[in-house]
Symmetry: C2
Subunit: 257 residues, 2 copies
């Protein structure tokens, strides 16, 4: 809350109130409630729509290591960098793990997309690109602690992932189980990452101003994830004849009425 | 070479000529020939001067993972990021290795510096800070390939490191051998890192313009390393009564005449 002089003048929230306010953002705005995800979990998507989602969300995946490298570059604390770097290893892969980007490529392939098609981002919707780029730019320009706080959507991810795995098994059995490896990996990674990001946020956001900025960062991230799905929902569910639709839509798109 | 219209119009160099030009930069400008390093390897530094070098060079060490994260954030090639990230792990440390920054702290301690003294950068000379910051900014703003090319000073590092290890054993036996762990680590890391950076540079700098930019980047890096030693040499060897000298200098400084 800003005073008339433009300075934050509230007393710092207690740790439990701070956490409650962070959780409230997720409970209210996390994209698990987006109509596209609801439709997905109900089994209401056809192959083309699922492909559109996988292809577009792939752009988000490609930018995650960039985003985390940006945060790493802004973070002067070696002990924190040593933990945060695991996110890049998890996503780009390492000698021990093929990595999240590769796992997402395999998910896309399991839906019938071509690898090259994904890598070329030929189905990428402008609205998705803008939202994802806004995320990387936010993390580049904000203090590293606030950028880390924006990742706290991971607090809410495991629920979404486990529901999604169940929904895929039930409603989209044509997506081979090995395609779901990304989701399974996140069941383990997201809670570990969120725990650490929450600890950093609590420790480094002690003033009311920083606490409010952390809450706002999480809200920004929720809005961004929501906007990604808005663009996908509009293009693939509501108005499948958008000009940016690939030409193959008429063969495959069966929008739900 | 630029034409009158400002465009590079030379034919690309052959790979062997490109490599020869890169090597020529190092042969001419690498900081192994700097008077301070010559003095160091001859055994001409006293404890205070060696401490001044270790404390100032520590700032460079702290910025290396930042510099590499900046490059990572600018690099869209996952396969290259997967290799480059090893530099950050090597320097920040990981579960498997204490890391180069910690090794340098131990070197400093072996010269008699306090850990906190190093971490607070209380002896950091302005000229050293400016040069090191210029390096990080260069890597932030240049194309990632050119930033990677600037690291090719590592082609020349192993020679300097092995001479330094021998010189420390001979002339500075009061520096405990365990303090030299950083140098020993670099004997293995630098050639591996330089090999990869050279491969990237050769593969991605195919035009004459990019080749010339890579050579210029290496020259920039050599100048920067040289400038770091200039500042140290001026403060600790030539003019030990500079105002930025710590107050203990009168007890310890024995400048060589």
């Amino acid at each position: 809350m800003k005073s008339s002089s433009g300075h934050f003048n509230g007393r710092p929230w207690s740790e439990s109130e701070f956490i409650a306010r962070l959780r409230a953002v997720g409970n209210q705005s996390y994209h698990d409630k987006h109509p596209f995800h609801v439709l997905m979990n109900e089994g209401g998507l056809n192959r083309h729509q699922l492909q559109g989602w996988a292809a577009n969300r792939f752009y988000y995946q490609t930018q995650i290591p960039i985003k985390d490298a940006v945060i790493l570059a802004n973070c002067p604390e070696r002990d924190i960098r040593r933990v945060w770097i695991q996110r890049i290893l998890d996503h780009d892969g390492s000698d021990r793990d093929i990595g999240g980007i590769e796992k997402w490529l395999r998910l896309g392939e399991a839906t019938g997309l071509g690898r090259q098609e994904m890598l070329s981002h030929s189905r990428l919707l402008p609205g998705v690109r803008y939202a994802v780029d806004a995320y990387v730019n936010f993390c580049r320009r904000q203090p590293w602690v606030i950028a880390m706080a924006s990742s706290l959507t991971e607090l809410f991810a495991p629920d979404l992932m486990s529901k999604r795995i169940a929904a895929f098994r039930k409603h989209y059995p044509w997506v081979a189980a090995k395609g779901l490896r990304y989701f399974r990996g996140r069941l383990r990674q997201a809670p570990r990452d969120a725990d650490f990001a929450l600890r950093v946020t609590l420790e480094h956001c002690q003033s009311r101003e920083m606490q409010e900025r952390a809450v706002a960062a999480l809200k920004f991230k929720c809005e961004l994830l929501w906007a990604v799905l808005d663009a996908i929902h509009l293009a693939y569910v509501l108005s499948p004849s958008q000009p940016h639709e690939p030409s193959c839509q008429h063969d495959q798109a069966k929008p739900r009425q």
